[in-house]
């Protein structure tokens, strides 16, 4: 079969409009071509996805991972479906939480991508809301009725007092149950070590049931673990092809080695999910490693990589790279809903960095729409950034206030262990509501941490 009739091409043409696919030259030329492709995709049997790889098996270790770890028995209940029939089934009452959890290992990322291309926003929200994925380290995220945040206290010079100030601000807004995670401005092992010790001291001294992470390359984290650094979660950005991962300086063996090293520290108290992955549509194209596959399908393939390592958190950084991949608020919103749904369907603890850059045509209204929709979809976690303004990475994400808004609106509560701590500290009441700030002398006491 030539390229013209290929699954890869069909998926790309059926994909919702994205500037990155236009840049890659894989997008449908117009709306009619896109919808005709979606109709053809709807009639495509799911079994075809097991016979035809979008990136050749021989050339790509991610494809080999997908094929070699596919669980045929789990796939059985949907094996007779076309993609269109699968979409209808997902929205039926037969697709409940246990059925979806049992199915996840039987789905390939390309199947998840395909079905999402036939789904409108409300479908992506409803189907995702039925998926339950629970993971644990020092607290438990993803339980029904819960909504967590990564506290992101970045500082342009990694100043410990500055990072601590933002962390305290977040904690007193109820943020940080997914992780307290710093993007370091400087990647040197010495600097990362300093930051890890800072967060470790804060967490142990105040008995906070959460975990820390310094988002540096896995090779740095491995080195830090060798130096006996207090590493809770091991971070890495991942992508959906071997070549894109190579451009990130990683491969599956390196990720396995890192996970083993993080596990060896045995720092989790209620669970041992130790990996924190970030992804984002467009990363493969930006590494010139997309193999003619559309960016949303490649994003799902990154989830297959994540899934293999039993992660604590997976975060799609949805509007970060800029308008060459997702041009405006509409494309960012659509991508965020797709990523969250596909990740959950594949069995991942999926969160989202709901964000935009100042050269994208997007604003806070777009973020509010995506945040509210993802909240309704049962998103595991979002970012908590002071005032939504990350002064190190120079982009806008969701704020501590935004997360509090969502919890209030949808009656969502933090991870149970963290919730108990918030109550003890007088930050939340027993109903899980944020109390008035009051005096909070503990806040300034915390700022003396490390002094």
């Amino acid at each position: 079969m030539g390229e013209k009739g290929s699954l890869r091409r069909l998926l790309a043409k059926a994909s919702s409009p994205k500037s990155g696919d236009v840049l890659a030259g894989t997008a449908a030329a117009g709306d009619e071509e896109r919808i005709l492709a979606q109709m053809e995709l709807a009639d495509t049997p799911l079994t075809r996805f097991l016979d035809e790889c979008v990136v050749p098996y021989e050339e790509d270790e991610v494809t080999r991972l997908i094929i070699d770890t596919h669980d045929a028995r789990a796939f059985e209940p949907v094996s007779g479906f076309t993609v269109g029939e699968f979409r209808d089934w997902l929205l039926s009452d037969n697709a409940d939480a246990p059925a979806l959890a049992a199915l996840a290992p039987g789905l390939t990322p390309e199947m998840a991508a395909a079905v999402s291309k036939l789904m409108r926003a409300q479908d992506l929200v409803l189907a995702a809301s039925k998926c339950v994925v629970v993971t644990a380290f020092r607290d438990t995220v993803g339980l029904p009725g819960r909504f967590s945040t990564r506290l992101q206290p970045n500082h342009p010079t990694d100043d410990p007092a500055g990072i601590l100030a933002s962390t305290i601000d977040g904690l007193f807004y109820g943020s940080g149950d997914a992780v307290i995670g710093i993007n370091p401005a400087t990647d040197s092992p010495e600097n990362c070590l300093r930051l890890l010790h800072l967060l470790d001291l804060l967490i142990t001294r105040h008995d906070i049931p959460t975990q820390s992470c310094v988002l540096t390359h896995v090779t740095n984290t491995l080195e830090l673990i060798r130096r006996k650094a207090p590493v809770d979660l091991c971070f890495q950005s991942i992508a959906g092809t071997e070549k894109a991962n190579a451009s990130f300086g990683i491969n599956l063996a390196l990720l396995a080695e890192s996970r083993d090293a993080a596990l060896s520290l045995q720092r989790g108290t209620v669970g041992d999910n130790v990996m924190y992955f970030e992804t984002g549509q467009g990363s493969a194209l930006s590494a010139n490693a997309h193999h003619g596959v559309d960016q949303q399908t490649l994003e799902c393939r990154a989830y297959a990589v994540a899934r293999y390592f039993d992660p604590f958190l997976v975060n799609t950084v949805v509007g970060f790279i800029g308008p060459e991949y997702l041009y405006n608020g509409k494309q960012i919103i659509r991508a965020g809903l797709e990523d969250h749904f596909c990740g959950k369907l594949l069995g991942l603890p999926m969160g989202a960095d709901i964000c935009y850059t100042n050269h994208a045509d997007a604003d806070q209204d777009d973020m509010d729409i995506l945040l509210t929709l993802l909240g309704a979809a049962g998103c595991t976690f979002v970012m908590g950034v002071p005032g939504a303004d990350d002064i190190m990475l120079n982009y806008q994400s969701t704020s501590f206030h935004d997360a509090a808004y969502l919890r209030k609106l949808l009656h969502r509560r933090p991870a149970p262990e963290f919730e108990a701590w918030l109550e003890k500290m007088g930050i939340h009441n027993a109903e899980g509501e944020l109390l008035p700030p009051g005096d909070k002398p503990q806040a300034l006491d915390m700022a003396r941490c490390g002094k």
């Binding site: 342009p156 100043d159 100030a165």
Partner: protein
């Protein structure tokens, strides 16, 4: 709400207290109502440690209106920085006044929308500019800066304002250091709507051994004028980001010009010594001589995907 423990240094709190104290006889009952709706965070003294938007207070769980409008204003300024026209004539005048020769070129992205959506076009010169560069290289020799050690490129990137503000004073600091290191420098090549990689084509065309590009970084809310500096040894079209080293956030209030220039000169000399640049170029410059947190780790930050904005997608 109790007054105990509150910080007199907190201007917001002072305002609230004043309104509460005078609330009954205030001429503007609307103001008093607003003040009562907003709860201040009692840790505002932590603001002295960071420019992050902390201790904003809240009404219910939501952002108070004054904080919200401040945010919108910052976003408006950042958006405007992206859309500001790159005034090359202005910069050329300033550089010529310093005795620096200039070439005036443009990338293949000839309008802002194309530039934003098509980074590939921003990475190469327009046909006319490529021809002009070739002509220059053909008709000039070493005295015209062809075949120099260092090729100096300047582009608006994602913030023309950053280049208008920072390029000339940074070059003032840099050139004496390069001169002292015995390195020759090309004319300053200005490229409209360029991405980082456009410097590969320019430096290759001028047969330089190493390229340095000053480029406007993606503007942040608190820094609409941050400048990035990228260095590539043996530049030629097709070089990848692993081969680059980057210094980010150069601006008053960020990384100061003199420190940035020293750092760059150090990296340039290291690259000439090692005969490569990028991830493999170990940054051994002692931290003690520098403000903490320089983004000098080069493009090995790319794996982080969410890396410093300067360091990958400009």
């Amino acid at each position: 709400m109790k007054d105990t423990g509150r910080q007199a240094a907190d201007p917001g709190y002072g305002k609230v207290r004043e309104m509460r104290d005078t609330g009954r006889q205030t001429a503007d009952p609307g103001k008093a109502r607003e003040a009562q709706a907003v709860a201040q965070d009692p840790w505002s003294e932590l603001r002295r440690h960071t420019d992050a938007r902390i201790a904003l207070g809240r009404c219910g769980v939501s952002l108070p209106v004054a904080r919200w409008l401040e945010f919108r204003l910052a976003h408006a300024q950042a958006r405007d920085a992206v859309r500001t026209f790159f005034d090359r004539e202005y910069l050329i005048d300033r550089l010529k006044a310093r005795g620096i020769a200039c070439l005036n070129l443009a990338s293949a992205a000839d309008d802002l929308e194309t530039f934003l959506a098509r980074p590939d076009l921003g990475r190469r010169l327009s046909a006319a500019s490529a021809a002009a560069l070739e002509e220059y290289a053909r008709t000039h020799g070493a005295e015209g800066g062809v075949g120099a050690n260092v090729c100096l490129v300047v582009s608006n990137g994602l913030s023309a304002r950053s280049i208008h503000d920072n390029a000339a004073p940074f070059i003032d600091e840099l050139l004496p250091l390069l001169d002292r290191a015995g390195l020759s420098v090309s004319p300053a090549v200005l490229v409209q709507n360029g991405r980082v990689a456009v410097a590969d084509e320019v430096a290759y065309g001028l047969r330089a051994e190493l390229s340095v590009i000053l480029v406007g970084e993606r503007p942040g809310l608190s820094s609409p004028n941050s400048m990035g500096v990228y260095m590539t040894y043996a530049p030629k079209p097709g070089c990848t980001d692993e081969a680059r080293n980057c210094i980010s956030n150069v601006r008053p209030g960020g990384l100061e010009y003199a420190a940035a220039a020293r750092k760059l000169c150090y990296l340039v000399q290291s690259a000439f010594a090692c005969r490569y640049s990028g991830v493999r170029l170990k940054d051994d410059m002692p931290d003690t001589g520098l403000p903490s947190g320089l983004s000098t780790s080069g493009m090995n930050r790319i794996p982080g995907f969410r890396v410093s904005p300067a360091c990958c997608k400009n």
